[in-house]
């Protein structure tokens, strides 16, 4: 046990905070991310994380906690995307690519200027790749409240979102305000990106949104079970990542812990790859049946 859990893990204040915030954020991001994947908005999530990077680095430059930068730019970009209707990948690659490139260029400038002023390189690392161990205690209640709000929004809209992904026309015909529901969901996605940026960094926040959801979609069926699996996978990767990051303090190069985000993101990706090792599911039997049915058709 000593070798798995380094001494002092459970007694450390920063570890408690990291575990608490990490869990809430992981669960929120995983559930929100599941709808992003289902709605074909993974790309929107990725765009939001690029733009949040600019917000975080701008906040660092002006001396504000980076969460406010992530939040302002993430939610602001979500609102803009909704108005401009650029949430989906199709046909908008080029324009979006240019805008996102410019956003990251701006982030580079902000980080550079910020580094000149404060002469720490650690801050830019924190913004790009996160550090759940150095959360300012005063922001913790804000982070938890934002996460719960985003999660509550997504759960409140869950059935409408599912019906809309089945068919926007059916949803509209049944009186679902499809546009408004999409806008509210996109705001929740912007908040989730900002929160994930605090845990694994702005650049890597997509991994917490999309990774657990993508893995859950491969192992679970049904909306409730898939959401629960995504939340579990996200939380497990976060816990294990925090534990390994804490342990890595004793790994070479000694007295320098490895970044939490490395572990969390690697665990998420590893979990996804593991699903490809499983034997193929029983659905395949059904598929053969469907193919036979087609084979019979005269066409």
């Amino acid at each position: 046990m000593r070798y798995l859990i380094a001494p002092g893990f459970f007694g450390s204040g920063p570890v408690h905070v990291a575990l608490a915030v990490g869990t809430v954020v992981a669960v929120t991001s995983a559930v929100t991310g599941l709808f992003a994947v289902t709605r074909g908005q993974s790309f929107a999530g990725h765009s939001l994380s690029d733009i949040a990077t600019t917000g975080g680095s701008g906040a660092f430059l002006v001396g504000v906690n980076q969460f406010w930068g992530y939040l302002a730019f993430g939610a602001g970009a979500a609102a803009f995307m909704e108005m401009a209707g650029v949430q989906r990948r199709r046909g908008r690659d080029v324009a979006t690519g240019v805008v996102l490139g410019a956003a990251l260029g701006l982030a580079a400038l902000f980080l550079y200027l910020g580094t000149l002023r404060s002469s720490t390189t650690g801050a830019s690392f924190t913004i790009l790749f996160g550090s759940v161990f150095v959360l300012t205690p005063s922001t913790v209640p804000v982070l938890v409240a934002s996460a719960l709000l985003a999660l509550a929004t997504v759960l409140l809209l869950a059935r409408m979102l599912l019906l809309t992904s089945l068919s926007p026309d059916i949803a509209a015909a049944r009186g679902v305000p499809v546009r408004a529901v999409g806008a509210a969901y996109l705001m929740a996605l912007g908040v989730s990106v900002a929160l994930s940026a605090m845990v694994v960094g702005a650049v890597l926040s997509t991994a917490m949104l999309i990774g657990p959801a993508a893995t859950a979609l491969r192992v679970a069926r049904g909306p409730a079970r898939t959401a629960a699996a995504a939340a579990g996978i996200g939380a497990a990767a976060t816990w294990l990542g925090i534990l390994l990051a804490y342990d890595s303090f004793y790994w070479p190069p000694a007295r320098h812990g490895w970044p939490v985000s490395f572990f969390v993101v690697t665990l998420v990706a590893g979990g996804y790859l593991l699903t490809y090792l499983r034997p193929r599911r029983r659905r395949d039997a059904r598929h053969e049946g469907a193919e036979r049915e087609h084979a019979c058709s005269p066409a």
Binding site: L34, V37, T38, G40, L155, L156, L157, A158, R159, M160, L162, L163, S165, L166, S167, P168, D169, I170, A171, A172, A173, R174, G175, V176, A216, L217, R218, A220, R221, G222, P223, A224, T226, R283, R286, H287, A290, E293, H294, C296, S297, P298, A299
Partner: protein, 260 residues
């Protein structure tokens, strides 16, 4: 006709400056099975969208009384969408509501009953995106009927299906509509599979609609007036074929292929 479920009066639709539908008037009575027949691009989908309120009419009036069920032409879903067949049918009950629901025995039984009624019980736990076209149509009919609508609209549910699936779906539809006493308005470019079950035909061509029994409407003089060019109505091996004289363009493509 006191208790009509649907009444269209002089409905016209312009889309991007083009007149898609002109002076469409007809009604649907409870329990009536109406085929909305016409070639591709005739305006069948537009008319269904107007009835559903998804597309505003630019002229005339549309009155719908009671809940309407809808089966769209295509589902835009990916194979990994986390909706099982039973989830899709359950969304037909309350997919338009806020919040999440707890699982309940009664709901589950109701969904299972509906799935059995359309013959989709065997794949209740499969993902909707993994089904064949005919299987998906059965599930979507269950989705639309579980909320017990008075009127069911279906947009080309028989397109791109093999013959066995077409017959299966038509008979499921006719049986359930009768059992639930729901009126049906179903669009199709080929009227033949619907001949045994249709009470009324609404034939769409060149933006106009002729309504009546098939004997009244599917006649050379009526359809020629509708198309604005001479068309023939042929009966070959029990199938009705609408064929434009000289050009094949005016007829539903299935019929033309059969003639050629």
């Amino acid at each position: 006709m006191a208790a009509e479920l649907l009444r269209l009066d002089g409905v016209g639709v312009r889309l991007g400056g083009r007149e898609v539908l002109r002076d469409v008037s007809f009604g649907i009575a409870p329990g009536e099975f109406t085929g909305l027949i016409g070639p591709n691009g005739a305006g069948k989908t537009t008319l269904l969208r107007v009835i559903l309120g998804l597309q505003p009419a630019t002229a005339g009036s549309v009155r719908v009384s009671g809940p309407v069920g809808y089966v769209p032409q295509r589902l835009g879903i990916e194979p990994d969408t986390p909706l099982r067949v039973r989830d899709v049918v359950a969304l037909g009950l309350d997919g338009h509501r806020l919040g999440i629901r707890l699982p309940s025995r009664a709901r589950r039984d109701r969904v299972d009953e509906m799935l059995a009624a359309v013959g989709a019980g065997a794949y209740a736990s499969a993902r909707i995106g993994e089904l064949s076209g005919g299987e998906q149509q059965r599930v979507m009919i269950a989705h639309a009927l579980i909320s017990r609508p008075r009127l069911l609209l279906l947009d080309e549910p028989l397109a791109n299906l093999d013959i066995a699936s077409v017959h299966g779906i038509v008979s499921v539809l006719a049986r359930l509509a009768r059992a639930q006493r729901a009126a049906v308005l179903i669009s199709a470019h080929d009227m033949n599979p619907l001949m045994p079950v249709m009470d009324t035909i609404a034939y769409v061509a060149a933006g106009r609609v002729a309504v009546g029994t098939t004997d009244e409407v599917v006649r050379p003089e009526v359809l020629s007036r509708l198309y604005g060019q001479h068309v023939d109505v042929l009966r070959v091996h029990g199938r009705i074929l609408v064929v434009a004289a000289g050009a094949a363009a005016a007829a539903g493509d299935a019929q033309v292929t059969a003639v050629g």
